[in-house]
């Protein structure tokens, strides 16, 4: 069981800046650039500058990444948006090529970078199971053999002959995940699949992933859900700006990640809309945490309320958009999730323009320690995630020892992720005591 499943040596990937936002060139550029551009313009050049430098038009999404994965290991990849996690998985899935370096993979790979890849709305559930299965690498007779199991898992028996465009988003996701869950590769690569769907769906995915891990398969798993990483993976690798910062037991890596100085963030801004997280409907422009007096902060007194703001720009009008936040303890434990229920915009399509959505977290609520807020904008029906930034902000709650918070005059440890100042009352009943003595 201890043989190497994946070995990665000095893997590096260079991207042209602007490739992602300026989607494609025009023929005019091509004619101007001459025929030499016809063949491969991304010539590896390691000396093009380590990070985004104005003189070069390239940046390294991955730099000299080296690690081994033993077969049967479940390994999580963590890091901020743009740290290179997805690029790494794309290279290991053979979707894109590394610029330099080598990765060796021993065993059959299935990669699940999205659920329902290749699903077609016009096709029925049955037809999509076959199509999606084939796309994920299953053979026809294998799909036939597992067909009933897949339908069972997805709970869509009654609608199996219905085009999936008529499915609810929940049914659609269940069916898509069911097909993927019945793949039987030796190495499974999963990216953020759990970021979609409702709670019960996520639970189902997680328990299926647990089973897969227990069957001795190698699993590579990228997630922003740090508690999922600690519960599913024995080992975690933390990537930052394309480099491996830490590689070790998942608990340890996660807490290192959360305790790193990198992770005290009072605010983030995206001055350039083109590279801000989002899509052509909505893009985030800023996220910040404000104390009661309005200043942006990452340290909060336990008694103080705090406001979290999401500034976003609606580019395409006519969509119902719901800002959401998730608040996590520094070990990845999710304290709560909250969706914007402001009645003014509830179920209302938003016009194009700039919005600021603010959520207030009361004082005397969170316990002391580090917390992380992840935030995004979704549409609830049909379910769609427009963007999801995690961590959006990270902050420290400090307890006061003035005696007027929940801690009172206690000086020692006080466990718990929340520390509300609850109402207590006392009644003194001297008569009852007397009757008991009688």
């Amino acid at each position: 069981m201890n043989d190497i499943a994946i070995s990665v040596e000095n893997l590096a990937k260079q991207y042209k800046i602007g490739l992602a936002n300026k989607r494609h060139d025009t023929l005019r550029d091509f004619v101007a650039g001459g025929l030499r551009s016809l063949f491969n313009r991304n010539i590896p050049n390691k000396f093009a500058g380590s990070q985004r430098s104005p003189s070069s038009e390239t940046f390294w999404a991955l730099k000299d990444v080296t690690f081994n994965v033993h077969s049967g290991e479940t390994i999580g990849f963590i890091g901020r948006n743009g740290a290179g996690k997805s690029t790494l998985l794309k290279i290991l899935s053979r979707i894109t090529e590394p610029t330099s370096g080598v990765a060796k993979i021993h065993g059959r790979v299935a990669s699940l970078l999205e659920v329902g890849t290749g699903f077609h709305g016009e096709l029925t559930g049955r037809e999509n199971i076959y199509l999606n299965g084939a796309i994920l690498g299953m053979q026809k007779r294998e799909i036939e053999r597992k067909f009933d199991e897949i339908v069972d898992f997805a709970e869509v028996e009654k609608f199996i002959e219905t085009p999936v465009k008529r499915y609810s988003s929940g049914m659609y996701l269940r069916l898509a995940f069911a097909v993927a869950a019945h793949l039987e590769p030796e190495i499974l690569i999963v990216d953020e699949v759990l970021a979609v769907g409702d709670a019960s769906f996520q639970k189902k995915c997680l328990s299926k992933m647990h089973t897969v891990g227990k069957e001795g398969r190698t699993v590579l798993f990228v997630s922003h859900n740090l508690s999922a990483v600690t519960s599913l993976c024995q080992r975690a690798i933390w990537l930052n700006q394309g480099e491996v910062i830490s590689d070790g037991a998942s608990q340890q890596t996660v807490s290192e990640y959360l305790n790193s100085g990198l992770l005290m963030i009072a605010q983030q801004e995206w001055p350039d809309a083109a590279v801000a997280p989002g899509n052509d409907i909505v893009r985030v422009r800023a996220m910040r945490l404000r104390a009661e007096d309005g200043r942006s902060t990452d340290v909060i007194d336990i008694r103080e309320a705090v406001a979290f703001e999401i500034e976003f720009e609606v580019l395409k009008p006519g969509h119902v958009l719901v800002p959401v936040i998730g608040l996590e303890k520094d070990d990845g434990f999710c304290v709560f999730v909250s969706h914007d229920r402001d009645t003014e915009w509830r179920r209302c399509a938003r016009p194009a323009g700039y919005f600021t959505s603010t959520v207030y977290i009361p004082g005397n609520f969170l316990s002391e320690g580090r917390f992380v807020i992840g935030a995004g904008i979704i549409t609830e029906v049909p379910f769609r995630v427009h963007f999801d930034v995690n961590p959006a902000v990270a902050f420290q709650v400090i307890d006061s020892f003035d005696g007027d918070a929940a801690r009172g005059d206690l000086a020692g440890q006080m466990p718990g992720v929340i520390r509300p100042l609850l109402k207590w009352s006392n009644r003194f009943m001297p008569d009852q005591l007397q009757s008991a003595v009688h």
């Binding site: 991207y15 490739l19 989607r23 494609h24 060139d25 025009t26 023929l27 550029d29 091509f30 016809l38 063949f39 491969n40 991304n42 590896p44 290279i91 290991l92 899935s93 053979r94 979707i95 894109t96 090529e97 590394p98 610029t99 330099s100 370096g101 080598v102 990765a103 060796k104 993979i105 021993h106 065993g107 059959r108 790979v109 299935a110 990669s111 970078l113 999205e114 890849t117 290749g118 077609h120 016009e122 096709l123 037809e127 076959y130 199509l131 084939a134 796309i135 994920l136 690498g137 299953m138 053979q139 026809k140 007779r141 294998e142 793949l183 039987e184 590769p185 030796e186 069957e215 398969r217």
Partner: protein, 285 residues
């Protein structure tokens, strides 16, 4: 249990895969395409299913489209312009040409759009990318087969018997497909980087049609330009169809051999170019 079934997964053809920047220009990974033949089948199947599912009369369009074109050609070119048709009834003269022409033009059209239209697959899943243009040039074969049945009906109606040249028909069909694939590979790869390509494809097809003997006979082309004209592989294919089915004058096989050689060269170069470009497909979409 996991081990017992894992052999059925076709994601990898060999147990160990080396991932690194591709170095060899001529590494076409044809074995990979063979390993993914079921995906090829399912993509063609999806294409056909989806195409006829939402339309009111489904496969009827496969028949109506060439018949309508034939009717328009007959009225405009046959009756008004009085273009000669080598002594054949104009409707069957043009229909016999529209059959391979439509096969070619829709293969080329689909092939050129194949990678861009499947961006969601290319950015999320590994498979040999050549499968995409391959599947899109294959799916019009089904339309061709249906439209062919109508041609047989028309031949019976007009009392025309095919010649022994009918044995050559598969070769003409293969040449048409290869020509479409050769061009389609170049266009599909260029389309990812230069989206203007999408708008040039209909033009290309239109110009190509006028340069092919679809609405008129080759005998109308001046003798001294005939050899140049015949280098267009579709000219040979269409002439070949008329010769095999309607007993027309046979195409010049020596010129056809030259254009077939050019097509094969273009196809091989197209594959190399496509393989070279596919390395950045996922990054550019």
């Amino acid at each position: 249990m996991a081990k017992a079934h894992s052999s059925s997964l076709i994601t990898l053809t060999e147990p160990t895969v080396l991932i690194q920047a591709r170095r060899h220009l001529f590494d076409l990974d044809l074995a990979g395409i063979w390993a993914y033949r079921e995906l090829l089948y399912f993509l063609v199947w999806r294409d056909l299913k989806v195409r006829y599912k939402q339309t009111l009369i489904g496969t009827g369009w496969v028949v109506i489209q060439p018949l309508m074109t034939m009717a328009i050609f007959t009225v405009i070119f046959g009756n008004f312009a009085k273009i000669p048709s080598d002594g054949l009834p104009y409707p069957i003269f043009s229909y016999a040409a529209l059959l391979p022409w439509n096969l070619f033009s829709s293969s080329l059209n689909r092939g050129g759009e194949s990678v861009v239209n499947n961006a969601n697959l290319v950015t999320k899943i590994y498979f040999p990318r050549l499968i995409l243009p391959l599947s899109s040039v294959l799916s019009p074969m089904a339309d061709f087969a249906i439209a062919f049945v109508i041609l047989i009906g028309m031949m019976i109606w007009f009392g025309i018997a095919p010649t022994v040249g009918i044995l050559m028909l598969p070769i003409f069909v293969i040449l048409a497909i290869c020509t479409a694939l050769a061009m389609g590979l170049w266009l599909a790869a260029l389309n990812v980087r230069y989206r203007d390509v999408r708008y040039t494809i209909p033009f290309l097809i239109q110009i190509w049609m006028f340069a092919s003997p679809v609405a008129y006979p080759v005998s109308m082309v001046p003798e001294k330009w005939r050899w140049l004209y015949s280098l267009n592989p579709m000219a040979g294919v269409i002439e070949g169809f008329r010769w095999a089915l309607l007993g027309n004058q046979s195409p010049d096989f020596s010129v056809m051999a030259i254009s077939a050689t050019v097509v094969m060269g273009l196809l091989a170069a197209g594959m190399v170019y496509f393989k070279q470009m596919e390395r950045t497909f996922a990054d550019e979409m």
